[in-house]
Symmetry: C2
Subunit: 198 residues, 2 copies
C-alpha cells in the first residue's frame, strides 16, 4: 500500500481529478467565484497547466458543470428494486441531500443556465435525464403511465421540487427536512393522478 503517485496519472485521469476538485469547490461558491486561479492554488499546480487541460475559464466552467450534473444524476439514481414509492423517496432524499451539500454551486447553475446557452443545454440535458429516468425506472407504470401528458407533468413536478428545495434551503421557516422530502415524493403520484385518463 503506497500513497497515490501523482506522476503516474494519465492526462485524462489528472483532468478528471481536477474536475472533481472543481466540483468540490463549486459546492460552496458560485460559478462566477470559481476561478482558474483558485483551482490552481487548491490543486497546487500552475495556471498554465490548467489552461493546458481546459483551454479557457469558460471551457473549465462548462466541464465542471457537466461533471456536477453527472454526479447529481448518479447520486440520485433510485435503487434497482423495491416498492416504486419507496424507490422514489430514496431518489428524492438523495436529491435534497445533493442540493443541500452543493447549494451555492447549484443555485448559481440554475441562475447561470438561464443566461448562457451552453450551461442551459447541460442543465436541460440533466433535467431530461432525471425526468426520463422516472419512466424508465417505473416501466411497469406503477406510479405513472407513460403518456405525453404525464411527460409534461413530470417536467412540471421536476421544476416544483427544484423550487421547493431552493426555497426551503434559503428559508426553512420551520419546515422539517423529512417533511419536505415526504411532500416532494408524495406530490408526484398526486399530480399525475389528478385527472383520470380519458
Amino acid at each position: 500500500m503506497t500513497a497515490p503517485a501523482r506522476t503516474r496519472l494519465s492526462p485524462d485521469e489528472r483532468r478528471s481529478q481536477l474536475l472533481d476538485l472543481g466540483v468540490r469547490l463549486l459546492a460552496t461558491r458560485s460559478l462566477e467565484e470559481l476561478s482558474i486561479d483558485m483551482l490552481a492554488e487548491e490543486a497546487g499546480i500552475s495556471r498554465g497547466l490548467l489552461y493546458h487541460y481546459f483551454g479557457s475559464k469558460h471551457a473549465f466552467h462548462e466541464a465542471v458543470v457537466r461533471r456536477a450534473a453527472d454526479d447529481l444524476i448518479a447520486q440520485t439514481a433510485p435503487p434497482g428494486e423495491g416498492d416504486p414509492l419507496e424507490r422514489l423517496l430514496v431518489s428524492v432524499t438523495a436529491y435534497v441531500d445533493y442540493v443541500d451539500a452543493n447549494y451555492e454551486g447549484y443555485l448559481s447553475l440554475v441562475k447561470g443556465a438561464a443566461g448562457n446557452d451552453t450551461l442551459r443545454e447541460i442543465y436541460e440535458e440533466a433535467r431530461a435525464a432525471l425526468t426520463d429516468r422516472i419512466f424508465r425506472e417505473d416501466a411497469q407504470g406503477q406510479i405513472i403511465t407513460d403518456s405525453a401528458t404525464n411527460r409534461l407533468l413530470v417536467r412540471g413536478w421536476s421544476a416544483m421540487i427544484e423550487e421547493l428545495v431552493l426555497s426551503w434551503r434559503a428559508a426553512p421557516d420551520g419546515v422539517a427536512r423529512d417533511e419536505l422530502i415526504a411532500l416532494m415524493a408524495a406530490s408526484l403520484p398526486a399530480i399525475v393522478g389528478v385527472i383520470p385518463p380519458g
Copy 2:
C-alpha cells in the same frame, strides 16, 4: 367625439402610453430585441425623447417588465366570488392565456430574471404577489390552509405551472389547452392535500 389629442397628454400619461406600447412589442420578441430605436419608430417619436422619458435602455427595460408584471397580476386576478376551485380555474386560464399571448417576452423575462438582479427582483415580487393572493383570496382556507408548509408548496406549484405552460407552448405534443389548464388547477389541491396536517 374627437380623436385623442396627443398634445394633451401629460408626461406621465405619455410615459404610460409608451410603456403599454413596449409591453405590446415585448409580446412577440425577447427583451434583448426590444430596443429604444424600435420603440421610437413604433411610437413615431425621436430616440432623444424616449431617453428623456426613460433615461437609459436598461431603465426602459425595467419599466416595461414592471408594467408587464402588473398586467399579468391584474389579468389573472380571480373573480371576487364563487366556488373556490372555479375561481382558481378562471385565474389559471387567464395565466395560460397571458403566457400564450406574450410568449416571447415572458420567456425572455424568465431567462433574464436569472441573470439580472433588478429583473429578478421584479420577477420575484410578481411571483410573491401571485402566490400570496391565493391565501388572501382563499382566506377561509377552502382550498388551502395558511401554513409555512403550504406557503412553500404554493411556491413550488407556481414554479410547476410556469414550467408546464412554457414546455407546453414550446411543444404541445398533443396535450389540449383545456386539459393543460384543468391539470394546473387540479394540481394545487392535490399537492397541498398529499400529507394530512399533523
